[in-house]
Amino acid sequence: MDWGYFKELLMGGVVKGSIYALIALGYTMVYGIIELINFAHGEIYMIGAFTALIAAGVLTVAGFPAWSILILASAAAVVWSASYGYTVEKIAYRPLRGAPRLSPLISALGMSIFLQNYVLLAQTSNFMPFKNLFPEEGFLENISEVLSATEVIIIFTSAVVMILLSLFIKYSTTGKAMRATAQDRNMAMLVGVNVDKVISATFIIGSSLAAVGAVLIASNMGQINFFIGFIVGLKAFTAAVLGGIGSIPGAMLGGLVLGCTESFGTGYVSSDYEDVFAFTLLVLILIFRPAGLLGKSDIQKV
């Protein structure tokens, strides 16, 4: 057993998994509350990346210093991603509350296609180089053999964001309202929770997390195009299901498990079937443990 290699694959998997987890949180929160697979979530992530790219471009031309570009571009990505998330919910999902379950699902798929092509037409179909917003050199030199500075930042940021989110859900009023709505929407409404606002808040938070993920991964990969949201979205959803949809720690665990599965699958078997591993894992989990790793199995309400 080659431990060095194993460690490298593991760290690669953790980096990838952290990103999956960040995006999976958006899926899992939305599903927890309105039981909808928000297909457009991957596109929100992609729009976050594009907004960051555009903001960074504008600020660079205007001659801002590097650290302020990092902060401002990330902020722009978060603000606009959140706005898109909010708007998408209002247009494509809110009018469909109470409709048969197939309807919002198809609407979500339509929204995803729409947003992809919207960016394609308004921007470009080409890959755009994405400048690393993080300072690459100068610190953390010593561990660069296993992890680059950006990768360390990815793991660190994801961890912090996820801890903050957990605290938020647990202790804040909005967080409590979210949990209440997730358990029983009608009941929450009766005790005075503004369900519309809670759902909007869920979309806004989920989208912001996706934007954070977008800035991180785009910085690491160095290029983006209009299609990056689709596959990542699919993987993140897989991660959410893997961990147990609706469960926040589940999404984190699911992301890491999926990231590592892909990494080890590629490292020890072959990258030919990288996506096949991911999907097979998904199918197996759904068949044998539909509630996911940390989810509770629910009983159909009759």
């Binding site: 509770k296 009983i299 159909q300 009759v302």
Partner: protein, 287 residues
């Protein structure tokens, strides 16, 4: 005489919560029995356990059909329970909204109208044989449907005729080709009963059939339920909050509270039962 439904020691847990606690309930042939209790007492959960929606944690659900066959229903899928002769309605109406009234009833005929249903439904046959028959006749049926043969048409016509007769029994025949969703509320409840009757049950489980009905409609329902019992020979177990209806039509009443049976007896006995009055009926007994 053996009871047609014999539930013994039925217990159902959801996680840590005990929704049903060692329940013993039985329904005798030709009887109208009622299950009452405050909201959340576990009445609907009981129905769900009996009809295969939930798999009970403990206890036995036994049926003894009038044709003399006895079987244990625990763990059977809902459709298998229906095949054994139990049919139900739902508290919140669950019709097939975008199908016509007649088609709703025709769905009730489903297990009696399929090719080979005699073999598939005969409880004497081994499960393997029934499954093989189900697969084989499933394939045959697709072929028959596509070819639209004579036998197929006949069978289809039989289903239509039977279903129409059921509609006549509940007085819905003139709405046969309307969409179910366009029926007024009271008639939707009736349609649910008709749909259940079409499955040819010997026991009908009605979950709050009178909910949301006005006194006139309730009166008609009262008649309908009695008629079903008298003319069709179907026994009935109903959950109901309308005490007047319960007291007037049922021979025996079971009272539940917090998942436990707290009393059982004739309407007269229940009316004067202290535990019942304390737990549930209280001052509301004559409402």
């Amino acid at each position: 005489m053996k009871p047609i439904l014999d539930v013994k020691n039925l217990t159902m847990d959801f996680g840590g919560l005990r929704a049903l606690d060692s329940l013993d309930i039985d329904v005798r042939p030709g009887e109208i029995a009622a299950l009452i209790g405050p909201n959340g007492a576990g009445k609907t959960t009981f129905f769900n356990c009996v009809t295969g929606m939930y798999n009970p944690t403990q206890g036995d659900v036994l049926v003894n059909s009038p044709s003399g066959y006895s079987t244990r229903l625990n763990g059977l899928k809902p459709n298998k329970v229906t095949e054994r002769g139990l049919a139900r309605t739902f508290q919140n109406i669950r019709l097939f909204q975008n199908m016509t009234v007649l088609e709703n009833v025709m769905i009730g005929r489903h297990c009696h109208s399929g090719a080979g249903h005699e073999i598939i439904m005969d409880p004497d046959n081994s499960p393997v044989k029934r499954m093989a028959a189900s697969a084989f006749f499933g394939g045959m049926e697709i072929a028959a449907t596509l070819l639209k043969g004579k036998r197929f048409k006949e069978r289809e016509q039989e289903t239509v005729q039977y279903s129409y007769k059921v509609l006549e029994k509940v007085g819905l025949e003139k709405f046969a080709n309307n969409f179910a969703k366009n029926l007024p509320y009271g008639l939707q409840r009736r349609l649910e009963i008709a749909r259940a009757m079409a499955t040819e049950p010997f026991l009908l489980l009605l979950d709050e059939p009178a909910a949301g009905m006005n006194p006139q409609e309730t009166k008609e329902l009262d008649d309908l339920i009695q008629r079903i019992r008298d003319k069709e020979g179907i026994s009935i177990l109903l959950i109901e909050h309308d005490m007047r209806l319960v007291m007037s039509i049922s021979q025996r009443i079971f009272v539940m509270d917090y998942g436990k049976k707290i009393a059982q007896g004739t309407p007269g006995e229940i009316r004067t039962n202290d535990a019942v009055i304390k737990a549930y009926l209280g001052e509301d007994i004559d409402a």
